[in-house]
């Protein structure tokens, strides 16, 4: 136990002595998360609209008046369809509307056609834009259509992206920092040759490994508390619908499995440069399979199975549930167990690979 504490203390002191590292960690947990949250909006905004009006009537103007900021830019008038086409082909205009000469005549007959040209190179935005315009036209029609769609977006009523992006950035920063810090503690010693000396000491290597990892977990946990307290709750006003204690526990479990990944990297890498390369190679699949970019149910079935191996998947789901979904904590037990199993497996591998001299 004394050896455990000694190693733990040594690592903490070594961390706080290297000012550069402390600054980088603090920066990532505060400023970086802040920038990512404030950075940009993913909703369709400022979509550029162009139109050709062969009618010079009132109705096209009325329709166009519905296309307004912040979703759309001021519609630009083109004199002929060729000009509009050229602008779309040069990707200056995303949505093009063409009003035929007999548009108004047909409108009163009830068979008017609004020609819509859509630059679909940005597929997602085009789809949302399309449904915006369909909505506008349908509302404009003002029929005796008596169905009202009551849409409720639960848990995040206004689709507030900054909150979400800040949380997402925090999760990836946490993962990155934990993996890199926990592998660097080992590889640094490996590089300078002191790791062999550590192993030669009359202390169980498992204790040394656990102490070293725990020291990094403590550092990261402090970072987490700073980040959630100041940035997430303070600046972005993130709701906390679950219990904060459960969040801390879940983070602890997650950092446990993430340091397991760090241990894995450390046991394979021989130098710090290799740590950088390896952690990038390992991190990418973990982040992509976590469901933060693509929902897991939309993935290829094989990838869905593989995503069970990504610890980030459980952590993201858990955090989303705790922060937004108001899930009872007991329903989250599976995430805790999954994270614990993943972490333990990685540690067992680490013990075998790095904890032995011969």
């Amino acid at each position: 136990m004394r050896a455990f504490l000694a190693v733990l203390l040594k690592e903490l002191i070594m961390f706080f002595r290297s000012w550069g590292l402390v600054a980088v960690v603090l920066y990532s947990f505060t400023v970086d998360v802040y920038i990512a949250g404030k950075g940009f909006e993913v909703k369709p905004r400022n979509v550029s609209v162009g139109y050709v009006d062969y009618t010079d009537g009132v109705i096209p103007k009325k329709i166009l008046s519905h296309l307004h900021p912040p979703e759309f830019q001021e519609p630009i008038r083109f004199n002929s369809q060729e000009e509009l086409n050229k602008a779309i082909y040069n990707r200056e205009i995303i949505v093009g509307l063409v009003f035929d000469p007999d548009f108004e005549k047909n409108y009163f007959k009830g068979e008017a056609k609004l020609n819509l040209l859509l630059d679909a190179t940005a597929a997602a935005q085009s789809y949302v834009t399309l449904s915006y315009i369909q909505n506008i036209v349908l509302r404009f029609n003002d029929l005796n259509f008596h169905v009202e769609l009551k849409t409720h977006k639960l848990f995040n009523q206004n689709s507030d992206t900054p909150k979400f992006l800040a949380l997402a950035e925090f999760l990836s920063i946490l993962t990155l920092i934990t993996v890199i810090l926990s592998s660097v503690v080992f590889v640094k010693e490996k590089e300078s040759g002191t790791w062999d000396i550590m192993l030669l000491m009359p202390v169980d290597s498992k204790i040394i490994i656990l102490a070293k990892s725990l020291s990094q977990i403590i550092i990261v946990m402090v970072g987490t508390i700073i980040c959630t307290g100041i940035v997430l709750f303070g600046v972005f006003d993130l709701p906390m619908n679950g219990s904060f204690l459960a969040f801390v526990l879940l983070t602890l479990m997650y950092t446990f499995s993430a340091t397991g990944i760090g241990l894995f990297v450390a046991s394979v890498a021989q130098s710090l440069v290799q740590v950088a390369q390896l952690s990038v190679i390992i991190m990418m699949p973990i982040i992509f399979l976590s469901g933060s970019w693509t929902p897991i149910y939309s993935m290829h079935p094989v990838l869905q199975k593989l995503s069970l191996l990504s610890p980030l998947r459980y952590y993201i789901e858990g955090c989303e549930s705790l922060f937004f979904r108001r899930t009872p904590v007991l329903d989250l037990w599976l995430y805790f167990v999954a994270l614990f199993i993943l972490g333990s497996a990685l540690y067992l591998f680490g013990f075998r690979k790095i904890g032995k001299l011969f």
């Binding site: 950075g39 940009f40 993913v42 909703k43 550029s48 329709i63 082909y89 990707r91 205009i93 409108y107 007959k109 008017a112 056609k113 609004l114 819509l116 040209l117 859509l118 630059d119 190179t121 940005a122 597929a123 997602a124 935005q125 085009s126 789809y127 949302v128 449904s131 315009i133 369909q134 036209v137 349908l138 029609n141 259509f145 008596h146 169905v147 009202e148 769609l149 009551k150 849409t151 409720h152 977006k153 639960l154 848990f155 992206t161 979400f164 440069v273 390369q277 190679i281 699949p285 992509f288 970019w293 693509t294 929902p295 149910y297 939309s298 993935m299 549930s321 922060f323 979904r325 899930t327």
Partner: protein, 370 residues
């Protein structure tokens, strides 16, 4: 410039790249990024887990349900549970959307009183929630206008054409942009590494003290990354067209020429980084910061350039990614080639970038100890 010196130096570089196994990274990393991101970034949401609570059980409500069933975006289930139970399923993240069709929905509609369809969407991933909402509303409005075709006056139908990407595939929208990022990041890292490694090891003094000229050194150092990554241009093309089935509508020559110029730009960025950085790890991190972030933000993948305003628009015009991606999207999806003046102009801009960065790098490089 003496060709003999350059040849010898280049031979040394190639053997070193092979011996240090860096060559594996050269070919593994770009393909890996392309495949992972290509499959990974999906703006489109498929198979949304939907629960439909049908309290009406009429012909109309069945029509709505079958519309949901036939859409590839939803995988609906009609369940006989209470709203509360459905909500708790959503809280457990088991389902993403609840559609509630109220009692006597059809009757009210025929009578002409207003009836409501309730849609509840899990928006804890906001953009995903927004997309699901637009899918669901689009589908329901579509059904509605089918029903209303009897009703005549003052009806406008939207006659829409999706240009360049008719079926709105995500792969078509994202993969060409990814090529722009990969070809910017990978050559830059490699060319920065080959120079900074010598600095870190101290072998750079061989160059400092030898009569090799600066220009010869730059050519010899940068040609291997350039040539190796030129192969990647073709590899990326094959992945995009065969694996992701992105259509290719432009001329291959345009694609190839532009990409070569672009790799040159990337190599130039690596050269500039190598002037500043002294350790390999710094070089890697610095290159990633310089290339990846603008690569994503200003590539038009996340946000179309024409939708940017103010600062963002200015910054987008500063980084070379925008110009390259414009031409790349054109060759893949649009197919105007150099027939359009804008493409030609952007190509000239890229050539200027390449020349500017490379000559700036050669100029700033020091052949002495600082």
């Amino acid at each position: 410039m003496r060709t003999g010196v350059i040849k010898a130096y280049m031979l040394k570089e190639f053997t070193e790249l092979v011996r240090t196994k860096l060559i594996i990274l050269v070919y593994l990393l770009p393909s890996m990024i392309l495949i992972l991101f290509g499959y990974g970034i999906k703006m489109e949401v498929k198979d949304v887990r939907t629960v439909i609570l049908d309290y009406d059980k009429s012909k109309l409500s069945y029509q709505i349900i079958s519309a949901f069933e036939h859409s590839k975006y939803f995988s609906p289930e009609v369940l006989n549970i209470s709203e509360k139970e459905a909500l708790s399923l959503m809280k457990k993240a088991k389902i993403d959307m609840i559609v509630i069709i109220p009692e006597s929905f059809e009757k009210n509609l025929l009578k002409g009183t207003i009836s409501e369809i309730g849609i509840f969407i899990d928006a804890s991933f906001p953009f995903r929630g927004l997309t699901i909402q637009s899918y669901a509303e689009g589908l329901l409005y579509n059904e509605a206008s089918k029903l209303l075709s009897s009703d005549k006056t003052g009806l406008i139908t939207v006659n829409q054409r999706n240009l360049f990407n008719q079926s709105m595939r995500d792969e078509d929208a994202i993969v060409p942009g990814l090529i722009g990022i990969v070809l910017l990041v990978a050559p830059a890292i490699l060319s920065a590494l080959v120079i900074v490694r010598e600095k870190e090891r101290g072998t750079i003094f061989n160059f400092y003290s030898s009569p090799v000229k600066k220009s010869e050194f730059v050519v010899a150092k940068l040609t291997p990354p350039f040539l190796l990554h030129s192969v990647n241009i073709f590899v990326m093309f094959l992945w995009a067209t065969y694996l992701f089935k992105v259509p290719f509508r432009g001329s291959f020559l345009t694609y190839w020429l532009t990409s070569e110029v672009y790799v040159m730009i990337s190599v130039g960025i690596g050269l500039l980084v190598s002037i500043v950085a002294r350790a390999q790890i710094v070089a890697i991190v610095l290159t990633i910061i310089i290339t990846v972030i603008p690569g994503f933000l200003y590539s038009g993948i996340i946000m179309p350039i024409s939708a940017m305003k103010g600062e963002a628009s200015i910054e987008a015009h500063i980084f070379p990614v925008m110009y390259f991606n414009h031409i790349i999207y054109d060759t893949f999806l649009i197919g105007q080639g150099f027939g359009s003046e804008k493409n030609l102009f952007y190509f000239v801009v890229l050539v200027m970038y390449a020349l500017g960065l490379l000559s700036l790098g050669t100029l700033l490089m020091k052949k002495e100890l600082r």
